[in-house]
């Protein structure tokens, strides 16, 4: 009978060890955690068992300095998991944020039907003119439609990081582009003069590529272009070089064709009407989407890959850290066996012992989680990187270590700490008093 009960007991432990971390990782909001901590504190302050648990925990925590080496295994192991998890997820989040912020609901982009990306699209001059005349396009104070015919082409330049050639996007923009994207600021030099072979470089591009400082020149198809300014848009346009559509078109022998028309809608609700207008015109074979939809779609795949990669890596690391924590806590329980047995002999129940070991482990885990999250934040927050984007050119983005990511890192730490502490805690509570007292 006793054996069966013990077995049932360990089955319960196992079930708890599986269910609680899952709940913790998937469903725990911060206020519930606070409530739980509050409830625990209340229990410790008011009830007799609670007060016992508190005093046992105090003893455990006080002896941590004697076991500094093995306790640091828990802290560093969990810090590693949380650091890597947060850094990888911050990479995906940064890429996603950069592209998401590029689009809005009240601007739209028109491309050739089936083109998917601007680089693949070709629109002739007549199409561009027709699209700009749609009634849903906002007019400027001078009564001209705020629409920018744009030409996206690619140039191959050497990167600062490794000297290898990588693609940078050159965007020829129309004169209304400045009204279309009021967030763009010139941070150095000046705007390019339409009609001249002048370019302005986005902040991200000039950070990643060689020779894009104001005043430097670059040769495209045998023609010399001058960088006359640097701009900051705070979004993925920062990865681009901007020039005059017509001049870029002549250098790349594109005639009067463009790759897309970007336009500002009279209001966000006008999009469906615009779509219907363009679809009903038999002269047009175009796709239209809001810029928000267009840029969001570009980040989907990569963000998904990074999420899967980050979670897989962190899960395997978490398994490693978990066994480290188990080792440490089993050893801690073993060294305190006599003390725990003494407590049991003078009338302490099993529950305070379990709570104290669990609390101690989770405290160490929290410490590790905070350490890992802090390291990830210190090293990687706003760290810039770039990858190949939809237009076959580099998209520069900054890692985004957001509070939400730090919180999920901390939840991972708590989950590992919980499982790592639970089994040793149960072992401590089950230790036969007589055997424990005889331990050295």
């Amino acid at each position: 009978m006793g054996g069966l009960l013990r077995k049932l007991g360990s089955a319960t432990t196992l079930a708890v060890a599986v269910i609680v971390p899952i709940l913790l990782l998937t469903a725990l909001p911060w206020w519930l955690l606070l409530a739980l901590i509050g409830a625990l504190a209340g229990w410790m302050a008011v009830t007799r068992t609670g007060r016992q648990a508190w005093s046992v925990t105090q003893v455990g925590i006080a002896t941590i300095p004697q076991r500094l080496g093995s306790s640091s295994v828990v802290v560093v192991g969990i810090a590693g998991v949380v650091g890597v998890l947060v850094a990888l997820l911050a990479m995906g989040a940064g890429f996603e944020t950069t592209l998401r912020e590029t689009g809005t609901d009240d601007t739209a982009i028109v491309m050739r039907a089936g083109a998917q990306t601007e680089l693949n699209s070709v629109l002739d001059h007549d199409t561009a003119a027709l699209v700009s005349q749609a009634p849903q396009v906002l007019k400027s104070a001078q009564g001209r439609p705020i629409a920018s015919p744009e030409l996206v082409v690619v140039a191959s330049l050497a990167k600062k990081s490794n000297g290898l050639d990588a693609n940078v996007e050159i965007r020829g923009i129309g004169e209304r582009a400045w009204d279309l994207r009021p967030n763009v600021q010139i941070v150095a030099g000046r705007r390019f003069v339409p009609g001249l072979r002048e370019l302005i470089a986005g902040k991200g591009a000039s950070g990643q590529f060689k020779n894009l400082d104001v005043g430097s020149t670059l040769k495209l198809n045998g023609q010399v272009w001058t960088i006359v300014g640097e701009f900051d848009s705070g979004d993925s346009h920062n990865s681009e070089l901007w020039g005059d559509t017509d001049v870029v078109g002549s250098t790349y022998r594109r005639g009067s064709s463009t790759t897309s028309i970007n336009l500002r809608l009279t209001d966000a609700g006008a999009f469906d009407a615009l779509k219907a207008t363009l679809a009903s015109d038999p002269r047009l074979k175009v796709d239209v989407s809001t810029t928000r939809e267009y840029y969001n779609k570009q980040s989907e795949n990569l963000a998904q890959i990074i999420r899967v990669l980050g979670t897989t890596v962190a899960t395997i690391m978490a398994i490693g850290a978990l066994f480290g924590a188990l080792n440490t806590m089993y050893a801690a329980v073993a060294t305190r066996a006599r003390e725990i047995a003494t407590l049991r002999a003078i009338g302490f129940r099993g529950l305070p012992v379990i709570v104290s070991v669990l609390l101690e482990t989770m405290l160490l885990a929290t410490l590790g989680g905070v350490l890992g999250a802090a390291l990830a934040w210190a090293i990687f927050h706003n760290y810039t990187a770039s990858t190949l984007g939809a237009n076959f050119s580099q998209v520069v983005f900054a890692f985004d270590v957001s509070p939400a990511l730090l919180w999920s890192g901390l939840k991972w730490a708590l989950a590992i700490g919980f499982v790592g502490g639970l089994f040793p805690a149960v072992r401590a509570a089950r230790l036969p008093v007589t055997a424990g007292l005889r331990e050295l």
């Binding site: 080496g69 093995s70 640091s72 295994v73 560093v76 192991g77 590693g80 650091g83 890597v84 850094a87 990888l88 050739r112 039907a113 089936g114 083109a115 998917q116 990306t117 680089l119 693949n120 070709v122 082409v153 690619v154 140039a155 191959s156 990081s161 490794n162 290898l164 050639d165 990588a166 693609n167 495209l220 198809n221 045998g222 023609q223 790349y252 022998r253 074979k285 795949n301 897989t312 890596v313 395997i316 690391m317 398994i319 490693g320 850290a321 066994f323 480290g324 188990l326 080792n327 440490t328 089993y330 050893a331 990187a385 990858t387 190949l388 076959f392 580099q394």
Partner: protein, 387 residues
């Protein structure tokens, strides 16, 4: 070797602790195997053994800018050039953008430049003679369950037909495979006839995306590359010629610095692992001080005690690491079978095992050396009296 039994029983003196430590080591090397497999796959894409005698010529401005077809006879005339072919990126979509695979319009003789791909003579001829013919790699054919004779519809993203329609249909006339399994990743591609593309496409007629040159002598690569670029120097279509590997390596590095990311993760993992196993080893030796003293008393030299403890930590790492790498091999194998060679995962083979074993020994030494020195230096009298 004669002390193996001694080392083994010392290792499993505390079963639970050793098994937990082994599992940590296992997790670390499982991760190492998986990540190194990804890294190797990206590195292989750039550094395949085949292709050392091929040059690729693209527009100096960018890969996306077309070159005139009139360059072909001029490149052929460059001394040291054995054979020239050309191709154009098509970028068609099969059913859904998620099904992405490269598809290119290629010259008649394009496949002749790739002796590392096996395609039967009959299929080779069929490709040359069928206007709308296409050949695909075996990996791709298996993924979509294509057979010779199938019609493959592709939705154009860049090149509509002359009437503006994006629908292109090709007749599958051949399936090729890589002779070297290492190059299986390159089987994920569809080729069709450039002449059909040139005649049916609305844009870019008379131009090609890139030229591919086979060298008569691979040692002449630099000279020939310079000679080819000189043909169009200072024109409005300057070229850049480089070896196929250099081109692919630069291309792959545009996605991300895979080596750096993998390196950073493994750095964090192994730092933790050293601390963790180091702690285990320190505990194990601390507990056994009297036993080590007994060994010394019965005549073990200082050096053999050092050796015993070091072997113990090396064994711990090797045991956990080998199981971890073996599991990584199985996982990679399963993923490759399920998803084909399209995922960037290389087989966990010799070089990965060698790197893994070297790391196991290195970490085994690092974590073992301090406890081992302690064991070596202990004085029998002190240790036996528990001081």
């Amino acid at each position: 070797m004669k002390y193996f039994h001694l080392v083994w029983s010392a290792l499993f003196r505390r079963k639970t602790r050793t098994i937990f430590t082994l599992l940590s080591v296992l997790a670390a090397f499982l991760l190492f195997g998986l990540l190194d497999s990804v890294r190797t796959a990206f590195a292989n894409a750039g550094g395949s053994i085949a292709g050392v005698d091929r040059l690729i010529t693209i527009s100096k401005v960018s890969f996306t800018v077309a070159l005139p077809k009139s360059l072909l006879p001029r490149i052929q005339a460059v001394p040291g050039v054995a054979q020239v072919s050309y191709a154009n990126w098509f970028g068609g979509i099969y059913q859904d953008p998620k099904n992405f695979f490269p598809n290119e319009a290629v010259a008649e003789n394009f496949l002749d430049l790739f002796p590392e791909w096996a395609l039967s003579d009959a299929e080779r001829t069929a490709f040359k003679q069928t206007r709308t013919g296409a050949v695909v790699g075996e990996t791709l054919a298996r993924k979509f369950n294509w057979k010779v004779g199938d019609k493959i519809p592709l939705q154009a993203t860049i090149f509509p037909q002359k009437d503006g329609s994006n629908a292109w249909t090709f007749d599958l006339v051949g399936i090729f495979h890589a002779k070297d399994p290492k190059l299986q990743g390159q089987e994920n591609v569809l080729f069709f006839n450039w002449s059909y593309f040139d005649e049916a496409s609305r844009f870019r007629s008379g131009t090609v995306g890139w030229y591919l040159t086979k060298l008569a002598d691979r040692n002449q690569a630099d000279r020939v590359a310079q000679a080819i670029d000189k043909l169009s120097a200072d024109s409005d279509h300057e070229t850049k010629t480089q070896s196929e590997q250099a081109f692919t390596a630069a291309f792959v590095s545009q996605f991300a610095d895979i080596g750096l990311i993998v390196g950073a993760i493994m750095g964090a993992v192994f730092f933790t692992l050293v601390l963790l196993t180091g702690n285990t080893m320190a505990q194990a030796v601390r507990e056994r001080i009297p036993e080590l003293a007994v060994l010394k008393t019965i005549g073990f030299s200082n050096r053999s005690v050092l050796g015993l403890v070091l072997s113990e930590s090396a064994l711990l790492l090797l045991l956990g690491g080998a199981i971890g790498l073996a599991i990584a091999g199985v996982v990679v194998g399963i993923v490759r079978v399920k998803l084909g060679a399209t995922v960037p995962l290389a087989r966990v083979n010799g070089p990965i095992w060698l790197r893994g074993l070297a790391l196991m020994l290195l970490i085994g030494f690092i974590v073992g050396v301090l406890p081992a020195l302690r064991g070596m230096r202990l004085r029998i009298v002190d240790a036996l009296s528990g001081r």
